[in-house]
């Protein structure tokens, strides 16, 4: 049984397309529901991509850009996939900017993960910490595919859209990533 129309529960069960239509007709509550629905996943993905500072700023920029160009949003792709695509571009832009400031991005990423791990060591269990280190050692493409598949449960077709690759290539990246991470855990 569906919740009554106009209630909070009903709004939470509305599809993204319906909420977008409400937002475009001037209902600002629709934006709040969409943000609440997708922001945590985006923040998690940004963090798994190695972003440690100002994650909320990245998420905010993602939503501002997405809502600013909703007219160009194609209904045949999910809003969620589109948001992840925008966020990924912002993450890459930020990394390029950081790379210009510092010379060695890969080293920075490793350091960032270690610093993050050091801070969280008191609260995180050992397996999770090792998984994060192993994921940080993956290639950027493997890491993105692995994260989107494992932490977000995204289908290969959507992952391919987000990372700008093919479904088959994403499948290969995922299985290679699983093999590398599990191998790292077994060796430890």
């Amino acid at each position: 049984m569906q919740p009554p129309e106009g209630t909070e529960d009903h709004a939470r069960e509305e599809t993204d397309a319906s909420l977008i239509a409400r937002w475009q007709s001037g209902d600002q509550r629709a934006a709040a529901i969409l943000v609440e629905r997708h922001a945590p996943s985006l923040a998690r993905f940004a963090a798994s991509c190695g972003v440690r500072e100002q994650v909320d700023e990245l998420v905010q920029d993602t939503f501002v850009r997405a809502f600013g160009s909703l007219d160009g949003f194609r209904a045949d792709s999910a809003l969620r996939t589109w948001l992840f695509t925008i966020l990924r571009r912002l993450v890459l832009d930020r990394k390029r900017a950081e790379k210009r400031r510092r010379d060695d991005t890969e080293l920075d990423e490793g350091q960032a993960v270690q610093e993050y791990d050091a801070l969280d060591a008191l609260v995180a269990d050992e397996t999770a910490q090792r998984i994060r280190i192993a994921v940080a050692r993956l290639s950027p493409m493997q890491r993105e595919v692995f994260t989107l598949r494992v932490t977000e449960g995204m289908a290969y077709s959507d992952i391919a859209r987000v990372v700008g690759s093919t479904e088959g290539a994403c499948r290969v990246h995922y299985h290679n990533a699983v093999r590398v991470v599990r191998g790292f855990l077994d060796d430890a």
């Binding site: 934006a31 709040a32 397996t127």
Partner: protein
């Protein structure tokens, strides 16, 4: 030692199973496989750990919503400005279309008028040509008593006046006569007179003849020149 399950289809769907995204039928299939496959059960445990390994950074959802709303509010005047611009452009397009249509109609009208003038001049030219061969214009060509033909039907207007003015009054054309009234002999005389008449010199300048250079030491006649 890590092993891979031979049932790749089920193994490939473990992330979806973990996130509860499978339909009931596929979920039952995966669960029955998991009950008998230690490798996939182990991989599912790994995926569950990996999923929980990444904590979600805190995001101020209200701040994000406020930023989205503020950005949309800032963009609104621009959108309205764009709409106004589009309206202005639509009006301008109508004006341009009207102007082009006016010019087109005007040009076509001018062409038609010009064409009529050209036709009028051609008619006048034809009348002049006929007037040239009338007995009045070529006095003495036709024998006395030869009826003057009426080259054109009764005309009016400036062209007709010009034609009348050119016709000598001393030899008025007899109205009602025509070329068909002339006898064969008279026609032959008229044709002879036309053949013998001096042609009007052309307006084009004469072609300059390049001087023929005679090589030094060579004697003799060149090209008919003395």
């Amino acid at each position: 030692m890590m092993r891979d399950c031979e049932n790749g289809d089920v193994r490939d769907q473990l992330p979806e199973y973990l996130h509860g995204m499978l339909d009931a039928e596929t979920r039952a299939l995966v669960e029955s496989h998991l009950a008998a496959c230690a490798v996939c059960t182990e991989e599912l445990g790994f995926l569950r750990s990996a999923r929980g390994a990444f904590s979600t950074p805190e995001v101020d959802l209200a701040a994000v919503t406020r930023a989205v709303t503020a950005a949309a509010r800032r963009a609104q005047p621009t959108t309205m400005g764009a709409a106004a611009g589009a309206r202005r452009w639509r009006v301008a397009r109508w004006q341009v279309a009207a102007g082009v249509s006016f010019l087109l109609v005007g040009t076509i009208s001018m062409q038609l008028l010009r064409q009529q003038n050209v036709d009028g001049r051609a008619e006048e030219s034809m009348r002049d040509s006929l007037a040239m061969v009338t007995p009045g214009v070529l006095p003495g060509v036709l024998p006395a008593g030869l009826p003057s033909p009426s080259p054109m039907p009764a005309a009016s207007g400036p062209a007709a006046e010009t034609l009348t003015a050119r016709r000598p009054k001393a030899a008025p054309a007899s109205r009602g006569s025509a070329w068909s009234d002339l006898s064969d002999e008279q026609l032959q005389q008229l044709l002879n007179a036309i053949d013998g008449a001096e042609a009007v010199p052309g307006l084009e300048p004469e072609a300059r003849m390049a001087p023929i250079m005679v090589p030094a030491g060579r004697t003799g006649r060149t090209g008919g020149e003395e």
